[in-house]
Subunit: 170 residues, 2 copies
DNA sequence: TGCGCAACGTTATAATGTTGCGTTCGTTGA
DNA sequence: TCAACGAACGCAACATTATAACGTTGCGCA
């Protein structure tokens, strides 16, 4: 059964994080895959959904655990890693290298490398784009003769609410 | 025996990579540690030296192997990891998160997070600084209310000589 | 002499990621 | 109809990266 052909709806609001339900995210992913001639199978859909539901960068083995509750049979690590690889190849998921964890992409229709902020306190992450940073990276790359293929920009810090909570706790 | 008090000599030439021998690098590290009240012990010195000699991001277990040849007794992983942690705390070494590997810092006297370019072909890395990128990251962080504590910027790509070699090989 | 501390040693194990091969299942084409 | 094929997944074993927990050494110092 084919997905209903949902048009990609890029969210131009820079503050759109968390404003769409997981189902909606997964549905968009499905139509994107369709358009690209790739298939978002049940397992892939489930894992993407788990990532959206999690709300923070999630490790591969955490997904293995979570799938035990969601599926009839347990799913082994290689399957999860293969699935993550697929989802990353479709820009539906990014890996947070500094955490060995995976997050769903807010704007999978734009196949860009993004900028991630990760709170060292609560573990949540925020995805941003900044073309100016991308441009500067490209400039620097050109100066030293590199042709970039992938950009990893991850900023660890403390988010607003955790700072507030920390200050209140004192 | 104390090290001779070598003054940190920041290399203002942006192209200074690879222009100082490992001994010179290690000597500078020693005087920096002295100045900071930290001690660059024999083991720490050896590991830093190995990293400078390696010429590319090097894994912790590679260091374990390399130390087998350099030292009388083999050194176990926890020791290497502790040493790397110390070296990172002194800004003498950075971790390349996207590779799980470690590189010595070109300018340990400037305790900045840098920008790394890693060649996916030959595995070498180049360290750069760009205050403009740092500023943009801070700006973005401020917008979403983050207080950054660490910046990871790693760019994977193909370096000039590998591109030349690749083109010549065809 | 004995205390305290930093560095290092040692054993075991946790956490993360991969290889290789087999099975299932749907499609395709003679 | 059915062999051939390929994509997706199952699975056992293994490789790699990292840490926990605890013991030992050596040095400065009261």
């Amino acid at each position: 059964m084919a997905l209903s052909p949902i048009q990609p709806r890029p969210c131009t609001d820079p503050d759109c994080r968390g404003q769409h339900a997981p189902d909606e995210r997964v549905a968009l992913a499905g139509s994107l895959c369709n358009a690209r001639g790739a298939q978002l199978t049940k397992l892939r859909r489930q894992i993407l959904e788990l990532l959206w539901e999690s709300g923070r960068p999630t490790g591969a083995y955490e997904l293995v655990e979570a799938l035990k509750l969601k599926t009839s049979r347990p799913v082994a690590p290689p399957t999860v890693y293969r699935t993550l690889e697929f989802l990353m190849s479709q820009s539906l998921v990014s890996k947070i290298e500094s955490r060995n964890a995976y997050v769903p992409c807010v704007h999978p229709e734009r196949q860009n490398d993004c900028l991630f902020f990760i709170c060292s306190d609560c573990g949540t992450s925020v995805e941003l784009e900044d073309p100016r940073i991308e441009r500067l990276i490209s400039e620097n790359a050109a100066i030293i003769g590199y042709r970039p293929t992938r950009r990893v920009v991850e900023v660890e810090g403390v988010c607003r609410s955790c700072r507030a909570a920390g200050a209140a706790g004192k």
